[in-house]
């Protein structure tokens, strides 16, 4: 049976990955995900996991080694954050184009500079259009669950795309939480062995990574986009399977106290937990407020989101990254483009919060909500606000 253990979430993530029996782990340390590969190296050293652990000389090589390993048909895993992800940046779009189902635990951290090791979502947002699927965990349990789901989703024949499992740096990576662990037998049952479509072996010769001339490039990109769009079906299936096997429900957009709510907050990652406390408080005060937690970022959960905001008068979108000079934060810009032209679309406000580990309190969520309700009447001056920044 599943067992409950109090554990640092990064360690728990590593334990979850080990349950998936990866063949190759290649990683390079960067705070705050470091404990994940560190603990995996321990697990391999103890003989609890039969895998090749490659301690590469850089993230660029870690991602490259994952490519090589995945090319042979091995199940490959890596973890990174911020500059590490950016250093992999050259290889990131190649992985998805080559349809390698590599899983990455991304311990979200602000991109430098100034150098800052704490959490925001600027790392993942910088890689938004690189063809990787992306899911966001809100707590330790979700990190563990999603790590296992991620392999199953990525390796599905109809998908074959790499995936980011986002977990907020420190807020999640370094927290100790009670977590239910599935047993090895349960995971073995849930996650089938990875059967590659093609593999680098002399018994069945292939050339991988060809040159795509202009007369064929479009078609490659279209195929990639279709695979990404179609992956949602598989994600939903895998989440259903998970619910059946373990009783915990996952949906692209999770709702909390949204029934009949006039105002909806939209969050991603660990701030969901704080926002839910704020919603509780506001509900107690009689405010008609609910919360949407976006677990799926790529592919974008368009239908689910449209459905989730139906009937709401105000939608407060929280972004944890800046799109400098853009029309809104990266999440909000997409939400707005989705809802443009929808009948009775809510008024949308956008706050960029929690940059570089800046605390976001329950009180902040209440204030943002109150401001947004006002904005419904008085047209907001700006499309977005970097909330709580001194001088604004």
């Amino acid at each position: 049976m599943a067992k409950l253990a109090g554990m640092e979430i990064a360690f728990a993530a590593a334990e979850a990955v080990a349950l998936c029996r990866p063949d190759v782990i290649a990683a390079y340390p960067i705070t705050p995900n470091t404990h994940i590969p560190e603990h995996l190296s321990d697990i391999v050293a103890e003989g609890r996991l039969d895998a090749e652990f490659i301690c590469t000389e850089s993230e660029h090589s870690a991602m490259s080694a994952c490519c090589g390993a995945s090319g042979t048909g091995a199940r490959a895993f890596t973890a990174s954050s911020s500059q590490g992800l950016l250093y992999m940046g050259e290889i990131i779009p190649i992985v998805s184009a080559m349809r390698f189902p590599i899983v990455m635990a991304l311990g979200n951290r602000a991109n430098s500079g100034p150098i800052n090791i704490w959490n925001d979502h600027s790392d993942i947002m910088s890689q938004r259009d690189m063809g990787w699927m992306a899911i966001f965990a809100a707590n330790g349990q979700e990190v563990v669950d999603m790590m296992i789901q991620a392999f199953k989703i990525a390796e599905h024949r109809d998908v074959m795309l790499p995936i980011f499992v986002n977990l907020d740096g420190f807020q999640l990576t370094h927290m100790v939480e009670p977590i239910f662990f599935p047993t090895q037998a349960q995971v073995d049952k849930f996650l089938p062995e990875y059967k590659p479509y093609a593999a680098l072996h002399p018994d069945n010769v292939v050339s991988m990574g060809s040159l795509g001339m202009p007369d064929i490039f479009n078609e490659f990109k279209k195929a990639q986009d279709e695979a990404m769009i179609n992956s949602k079906k598989v994600i939903l299936e895998v989440w259903k399977d998970w619910e059946k096997a373990f009783g915990r429900k996952y949906e692209p957009v999770m709702s909390y106290k949204t029934k009949g709510a006039d105002v909806l907050l939209l969050t991603m990652g660990s701030m969901t937990e704080t926002a839910s406390v704020a919603v509780d408080e506001m509900r107690e005060k009689g405010m008609s407020v609910g919360l949407l937690d976006m677990k799926l970022w790529r592919p974008f959960p368009s239908e689910e989101l449209k459905k989730a905001v139906k009937g709401a008068k105000v939608l407060v979108v929280m972004d944890r990254a800046v799109s400098y000079g853009g029309p809104a934060g990266p999440v909000c810009a997409e939400v707005k483009s989705l809802l443009y032209g929808e009948p009775n679309a809510p008024v949308i406000t956008n706050y960029i919060i929690g940059l570089g580990g800046r605390d976001v309190t329950v009180e902040d969520f209440v204030k943002m909500t109150e401001k947004s309700i006002k904005a419904k009447k008085e047209k907001p001056e700006k499309a977005y606000e970097i909330y709580g920044a001194r001088g604004s």
């Binding site: 063949d23 870690a62 490259s64 080694a65 090589g68 062995e193 002399p202 060809s210």
Partner: protein
């Protein structure tokens, strides 16, 4: 007598594999040394091989989708990472074989890259792979510039060569730095087998590839592969110019097994003057007699350094 056909018994032409693992139909220029190097290398490697390739001439000319010149399993990911992709391939094959998920048969991982992808942008990945001791062979196809992007200088471009980013002109004589000696740098990683090779000495090259293939652990071969296009040479001079590189002492062929140096192709005594090598090549056309003198002195000194090592260095076993 030059022993250019050393080990003729092993590589008598009729014993060389007739199968082409790098098939006709690639799009490299006529007379391309790198393409020839790959063809020879593959014959020496044989069927049970996986190749990783850095971006460069040998990638873009061989695999224009949906065609491929490769009949060995082959992967290209990017420019700087042939060695780290190779490290992943080697690890993947090892894990899958150990777990019984693929046939229990030894398959060699071989990574190749041009000189740019090896000595410059890919050097970190190469150094890391060699340091970690992956069971793989790395072959640098050295045509002494970034040819794929139009003959820009690389760390392996020789002193005085005119390239598109180190051009000769009123105020310049071409590349100002000397060629980076990556073979020696890799040797400092304590890898068990390192060698230089040249496409003009095919049997020597194939012997070295064969030897490296049979060594468990990281091995490195630096193969000088003349590029008629970038060296400004008629294409039929490709083989001849490689021979001249050896005969003038510019690119001696040697191997280092467990620390022990050995010259594998005899050099003339005395060496031919470097002008014999420089003259036919358009990239050195502008050099003044003073510059050629400078090159001559440097070549002699490097040659003496090498011979000093050949004469005095013992193998690790002897030193243990």
């Amino acid at each position: 007598m030059m022993n250019i056909v050393e080990n003729f018994d092993v590589y008598a032409p009729r014993l060389v594999d007739k199968e082409e693992f790098y098939a006709p139909g690639h799009r490299a220029c006529g007379g391309c040394g790198e393409a020839l190097a790959i063809r020879l290398m593959c014959k020496a490697l044989g069927r049970d091989t996986v190749v990783t390739n850095a971006t460069g001439c040998m990638e873009v000319t061989a695999c224009m989708y949906p065609t491929t010149a490769w009949t060995l399993p082959w992967i290209h990911v990017a420019f700087p990472n042939s060695a780290s992709v190779g490290a992943g391939v080697e690890s993947g094959l090892k894990a899958l074989r150990r777990k019984g998920k693929i046939a229990d048969r030894y398959v060699k991982t071989v990574s190749i890259g041009g000189d740019g992808g090896t000595v410059d942008i890919g050097f970190q990945a190469l150094s890391g792979a060699m340091e970690r001791g992956h069971d793989m062979l790395y072959v640098c196809l050295d045509n002494e510039a970034y040819m794929n992007t139009g003959i820009q200088r690389s760390g392996a471009t020789p002193f005085g060569a005119s390239t598109s980013t180190a051009p000769a002109g009123e105020e310049s004589f071409g590349k100002k730095a000397w060629k980076k000696n990556v073979t020696e740098i890799i040797l400092a990683h304590n890898v068990p087998y390192v060698a230089t090779a040249c496409t003009s000495y095919p049997l020597d090259f194939m012997n070295k590839v064969k030897k490296a293939r049979n060594i468990k652990g990281p091995t490195y071969i630096h193969c000088l592969a003349p590029c008629p296009t970038g060296w400004r040479l008629p294409m039929e001079h490709c083989i001849k110019i490689g021979r001249l590189s050896l005969e003038t002492g510019v690119f001696p062929l040697y191997e280092v097994e467990n620390g022990k140096y050995r010259i594998t192709v005899d050099m003339p005594e005395p060496l031919r003057p470097v002008t014999d090598y420089l003259k036919p090549q358009g990239r050195f056309r502008h050099l003044t007699p003073e510059k050629i003198e400078e090159i001559q002195a440097r070549v002699q000194m490097e040659y003496n350094k090498l011979m000093n090592k050949v004469d005095s260095l013992q193998s690790w076993e002897e030193l243990a």
